[in-house]
């Protein structure tokens, strides 16, 4: 049974026949390929056709989830039976269940769909692109002495979501990416960094020249780095560091973090938590957005949600469960894979642009840090305490000077949000979570 629509219909029918009140099915079929070149030689060629299928059943407010990559009919029949047995073990939960019928729907959005040009791109061409990108990157600067690989990857995915309340949605999409990781060395100290581009079609992908140039620039600018003194200074977040900052908001503004009380944003709906001009949007309908979608992973239409508007917390992002539990409207924010329960998440999540050029923001700092790299550990979502390992460039008299490493920046989100002073005009949608440059008045630097 290879037709996903028929397969989904069979599973829902079978689950209802076994006594389920409701059921939904997610089926994902992909074709992936990747090439990694290092120092001009192919290091790895990879191809695959993964698939998976997830079944959720609901019976008297109890539920269970199963998933499999074995689509044989006998195996599936057994699995549906097991799903029903498992549901019996759980506790009835008044908030669980499929979306209400009137919540379901598909937004009228044009998505790029499957990119035929990409699907037909020969392996030789992918190898050539990766090789060219590495050569270009390595030639940019004599300090670049090694490569950790130049990679191409692409994939085509067919995705189906269907439920027993009449929803059926399917989507075909492509993705491709280029990434280059370089190593530079001076005075016996090695530094590495990387750059990448990712897109839903070949046409939108950045050129190998640009990716190579950026990877080289990011690597070489780390040479000669120092450890800064422990002190309090203004911190300018570049779009990469800014993305990390927005990621923290993305993890704490979701409904499950709220009802699990694992968020510093609890009980703050409608309150002023940040400065005027600090507006954060989650837009599932963004033109060319990498995470744009016509429907979310529960079958609600994709939509645009203003999360924070001029510093006021406007909405928590909710899937149906979180919405019912928090007595809030669902926001079409369900996100899941075939093998996991839905939970609220983001689509295209970004900080709206401000009026300042990034150069102006840097120029406004007499003594401080231009933050270009933030490590992922060191955030307490419950309290908002922030203490992250970081890297960047020291700013003196409004000018970028020498690179700095091996320090942490620390503060608390509740104090950092009201201390944002200048927001840049350089927002680019290079990923699903994006930020322009911005400045925080003062943060603690812990170094030497």
């Amino acid at each position: 049974m290879n037709d996903p629509k028929k397969l989904s219909e069979y599973i829902i029918r079978e689950a209802l026949r076994l006594g389920a009140d409701d059921a939904d099915v997610m089926i994902v079929n992909s074709v992936n390929s990747s090439v990694k070149v290092r120092l001009g030689r192919i290091e790895e060629l990879k191809q695959a056709n993964p698939k998976s299928l997830g079944i959720r059943v609901f019976k008297q407010k109890r539920k269970a989830l199963t998933f499999t990559s074995d689509f044989r009919k006998d195996s599936l029949r057994q699995l549906i039976g097991r799903t029903m047995e498992m549901a019996a073990v759980t506790t009835p939960d008044e908030f669980s269940g499929l979306p209400e019928r009137e919540w379901l729907g598909i937004a009228p959005l044009e998505l790029p769909g499957s990119d035929e040009r990409l699907a037909n791109l020969p392996t030789e061409k992918k190898i050539a692109l990766a090789r060219e990108m590495e050569e270009l990157g390595m030639a940019k600067d004599p300090l670049i002495i090694n490569s950790d690989g130049s990679s191409w990857s692409d994939g085509q995915t067919h995705y189906v979501l269907a439920n027993s309340r009449g929803f059926y949605g399917e989507e075909r999409y492509s993705s491709c990416s280029l990434s280059l990781s370089l190593v530079a060395e001076k005075d016996g100290v090695k530094q590495s960094d990387y750059w990448y581009s990712t897109a839903r079609s070949l046409e939108k992908l950045d050129s190998v020249e640009n990716v190579a140039a950026e990877a080289a620039r990011r690597t070489v600018r780390k040479i000669g780095s120092r450890k800064p003194q422990t002190q309090k200074v203004p911190v300018v977040f570049d779009p990469i560091a800014g993305r990390d900052f927005l990621n923290i908001i993305a993890s704490t503004v979701v409904g499950d973090a709220i009802y699990q009380r694992r968020s510093f944003l609890i009980d703050k709906l409608g309150q002023k938590i940040g400065v005027d001009g600090f507006t954060v949007v989650d837009d599932g309908l963004l033109a060319d957005g990498l995470a744009s979608r016509r429907f979310d992973d529960e079958g609600l239409p994709g939509r645009r949600n203003v999360v924070i508007e001029n510093g006021i917390l406007k909405s928590y992002l909710c899937d149906c469960y979180a919405a019912r539990k928090l007595k809030l409207p669902p926001t079409g924010s369900a996100s899941r894979g075939a093998g996991s329960e839905p939970s609220p998440g983001t689509s295209n999540f970004y900080l709206e642009m401000g009026p300042y050029a990034p150069e102006e923001i840097i120029a406004s700092v007499k003594n401080g840090i231009y933050l270009t790299e933030v490590h992922w550990v060191g955030i307490n979502y419950v309290t908002g305490d922030y203490s992250r390992g970081a890297g960047g460039i020291w700013i003196e008299d409004g000018k970028l000077t020498y690179p700095v490493q091996e320090f942490t920046i620390a503060g608390n989100m509740n104090e950092m949000l009201p201390a944002i002073e200048m927001i840049g005009n350089d927002l680019r949608f290079t990923g699903s979570i994006c930020s322009p440059t911005f400045k925080i008045k003062e943060l603690m630097i812990s170094g030497s």
Binding site: L45, Q47, E341, N380
Partner: protein, 470 residues
């Protein structure tokens, strides 16, 4: 196991022949059938129950340091042949390896796979969750939330390479996790504790790993941290608590000693075997051979026996963690560190259980030697830039040490430093080396594998502590 994958040994040899049809030094087949389950309780109700099957085969062709890899989720000969052909494209030489006669490779017996938790009645697991929920909530009235889960899996694998080396293995894994939130007025803090390994459900009958013990410890951290004050910023004397601080070895040293990074000149430790890279108090070992630990394996994912490899002995770098490809290029023996997340990935050098051997002091002597410093008792995650060796860690439970005594709890301590540099600053090592049984999972090149780690109570004369207080 041929039955499970619906393939005969002669068909497996055909696949290898096809994989090597364009030449190559070696090829291997990795069949996997993994069943996983989990049960999660939140607000004292069983919220989620999950069960899943993942099956497929990964086919690899090796030519020198080059790899062709393909996998398929379809266990039929036609799809597998197509995958073999795809993997073969890496090679384009006329000379190809001969496919040798099939023979079993030696393997250890480190986990009891006769009574698998995956087959246990869900109600048995549910009881464990209820016990933990009760213990967490009963710990203290300040505990407002408890989320408890039990997750387990059984991974059945079958391997054959062109040298005829064949094995099968059944790898169990179980993990019990308790997250708690404590609140007092507007103050709120979280706690987390997990325990498990390659065990069956009997593990949770033991005193230290009973659901109550795990739950109470999670609650204790949440409640303790309600009293925590901001950490002092800047360089400090740091005492690494036994067991979980081993993650510092994993990040600061371990990743840099994986042979792929070393042979490519991408590690701080490249070309440094025989050199002094740490204080002479440090002897650091990686070994996949300890019963029931998360990182332990009867045989690695390309047919080599795990070993107890001394990476650093009394401060001197002895060797690297090897997989098949790196060992051949570096002309050393494989160390049994070739691991992969699943059939979807080729094996690469990975840590198993990384730890530091004990020293001559009692833990008490180490702590009392400190006038002013930070006691890092329990670590969260960490990360490292292997090329330069810079690392960062989050510490979930930390205290101030004043005049040789552990005093105030500190909140949200982050440690940052350079791995090789920190290892030269180890000044005291206690006699209490302990492994951690928490849910450690290591990520590298997009692949996640279970590991364990351990360390005795250890004094480091200086690490930069991220904090907000000057």
């Amino acid at each position: 196991m041929e039955q499970l994958f619906n393939i005969s040994k002669s068909e497996m040899r055909q696949l290898l022949a096809l994989a090597l049809s364009n030449g190559g030094d070696d090829a291997d087949l990795f069949f996997e059938y993994t069943v996983s389950s989990s049960l999660r309780m939140e607000d004292s109700i069983v919220k989620d129950v999950k069960y899943g099957i993942v099956m497929g085969v990964g086919i690899r062709v090796i030519k020198g340091d080059q790899v062709g890899y393909a996998y398929t989720d379809e266990i039929d000969l036609k799809s597998m042949k197509e995958a073999a052909r795809t993997a073969s494209y890496i090679a384009n030489v006329s000379q190809s390896a001969r496919i040798a006669a099939l023979h079993d490779v030696p393997r250890l017996n480190l986990y009891d796979s006769d009574t698998l938790s995956i087959d246990a009645d869900l109600k048995q697991k549910l009881k464990l969750l209820e016990r933990a929920d009760k213990a967490a909530r009963g710990y203290n009235s300040q505990i407002t939330k408890a989320t408890i889960s039990i997750a387990d899996e059984m991974k059945q694998i079958m391997f054959l390479d062109a040298q005829g080396r064949y094995f099968t293995d059944v790898q169990p894994m179980i993990m019990f996790r308790v997250s708690t939130v404590a609140e007092r007025g507007t103050a709120r803090q979280g706690g987390y504790r997990a325990g498990g390994g390659r065990y069956d459900l009997d593990y949770y009958n033991l005193n230290d790993s009973a659901p109550e013990a795990i739950a109470r410890d999670s609650a204790r951290v949440a409640v303790t941290n309600l009293e925590a004050r901001p950490a002092p910023a800047g360089p400090q004397v740091v005492i690494l608590g036994a067991a979980e601080s081993g993650v510092l070895l994993h990040e600061a040293v371990g990743h840099g000693l994986e042979a792929d990074a070393c042979r490519k000149g991408l590690s701080n430790y490249s070309d440094r075997v025989g050199q002094k890279v740490a204080s002479e108090l440090c002897t650091i070992v990686d070994g996949g051979i300890y019963p029931n630990l998360r990182g332990s394996i009867n045989v690695d994912d390309e047919g080599n026996l795990p070993s107890e490899s001394v990476l650093i002995e009394k401060g001197i770098l002895k060797g690297y963690m090897q997989d098949k490809i790196s060992a051949k290029i570096m002309q050393v023996q494989p160390t049994g560190n070739g691991r992969r997340q699943s059939y979807k990935y080729p094996p690469i050098p990975r840590m198993t259980n990384t730890y530091m051997r004990g020293g001559g002091y009692t833990p008490d002597e180490v702590i009392t030697s400190v006038k002013y410093g930070v006691y890092a008792k329990r670590f969260g995650g960490g990360q490292v830039d292997t090329t330069k060796g810079d690392f960062t860690f989050g510490v979930e439970e930390a205290y101030l040490i004043e005049k040789g005594k552990i005093t105030t709890p500190l909140k949200d301590v982050t440690l940052i430093g350079n791995g090789p540099e920190v290892m030269t600053k180890v000044t005291m090592v206690a006699n209490d080396p302990t492994f951690s049984y928490s849910s450690w999972t290591c990520g590298k090149d997009g692949q996640r594998v279970p590991v364990s780690l351990g360390i005795p109570t250890t004094k480091v004369s200086e690490i930069t502590v991220g904090g907000t207080q000057v």
